[in-house]
Amino acid sequence: MIEKAFEGEKGYWGWIALLLAVIALGIYSYSKQLSYGLGVTGMGRDISWGVYVAQFTFLVGVAASAVMVVLPYYLHDYKEFGKIVIIGEFLAVSAAVICLLFILADMGTSGPGILCPSLSPSKINSILGCSGTEWLFAAKYC
């Protein structure tokens, strides 16, 4: 399936180039955030959660709905939907990955310690801990 991503018309490669440019801008901005602190986003005392969290919640919905398109095919045996299932699952995986990246970008401190504590069973009652665990499950199964 993935080999289909490496062939396409001029317009397709233009789109890929545009996406790569956006990714490069993201990496550059994240490096700014690492050196200055989260204040560079414009968030402050009064607005402590911003577009990062908004994007996370939006993409959670995208990932969930992208998985749901398998239902007509598998549960209702509606063969027409078969074609969209694979695309849906690719979308679900990428949306789940972007979700995790947004959460990582929203954390004040960087480093591998960020994800590990959110998985510690003692703090599973925390909503953030739960969503972290949930998303690793989602990424694994979809």
Partner: protein
């Protein structure tokens, strides 16, 4: 609070100095441990009609309430903020990942996030207390580092008018319980059920 002098900020200055609280001079990045605010902001549910002018116009001291049932501790995914055996809600800056969930949970706005490196904005560094890095949350800790040395919290000790009293709420013989039994006091947003441990005599 009747004894508190308008315009006096000695308790705030003492706290900021003892805890290396940075001064950014900009409300967006501000770090606040103890500060003065309008009555209507501190007690939004008790801002009734025809309030005595003296109370209405008084700047009230605002700080972490060290709730008996703290919502910030419940939501923290890493256990960086926790309740100690004496009831004080403490912060472990090293465990904080900066998710700011506690700030969303705190009903009193008592928590501040380091939106940028605080160290250049500290006027004079007090080596007895750690400075923080960018990206962690901090708040009033009731001077637990001073309590361990049997000293009173810096704000209580500094106040020239003896406005503030600190003590053990669970000791029936303590001075604080004596004062609470003799005066009418109010708590901030008690209807939320967090059981704040800061009481105000208005």
């Amino acid at each position: 609070m009747k004894k508190c002098v308008d315009g006096c900020v000695k308790c705030i200055d003492a706290c900021n100095d003892k805890h290396n609280v940075p001064d950014f001079d900009n409300p967006k990045d501000e770090i606040k441990w103890i500060w003065k605010s309008d009555y209507a902001k501190v007690f939004p549910s008790k801002n009734q009609q025809f309030l005595a002018k003296e109370t209405r116009d008084k700047p009230f001291l605002s700080l972490c309430n060290h709730c008996a049932d703290p919502p910030c501790v419940k939501v923290c995914p890493t256990g960086a903020t926790f309740q100690m055996d004496d009831g004080i809600v403490e912060m472990d800056f090293h465990r904080c990942i900066g998710c700011r969930f506690c700030m969303a949970a705190c009903p009193y706005g008592s928590r501040s996030f380091n939106w940028r490196d605080p160290r250049p904005a500290i006027k004079n560094i007090t080596p007895e207390y750690p400075t923080r890095e960018s990206g962690v949350v901090e708040k009033c800790n009731f001077c637990s580092e001073r309590l361990a040395k049997e000293q009173q919290p810096a704000c209580v000790e500094t106040c020239p008018e003896k406005v503030l009293t600190f003590g053990n709420l669970y000791d029936k013989e303590s001075e604080i319980r004596q004062i609470l039994s003799e005066n009418t006091t109010i708590q901030r947003k008690p209807e939320l059920g967090a059981n704040p441990s800061v009481f105000y005599i208005t």
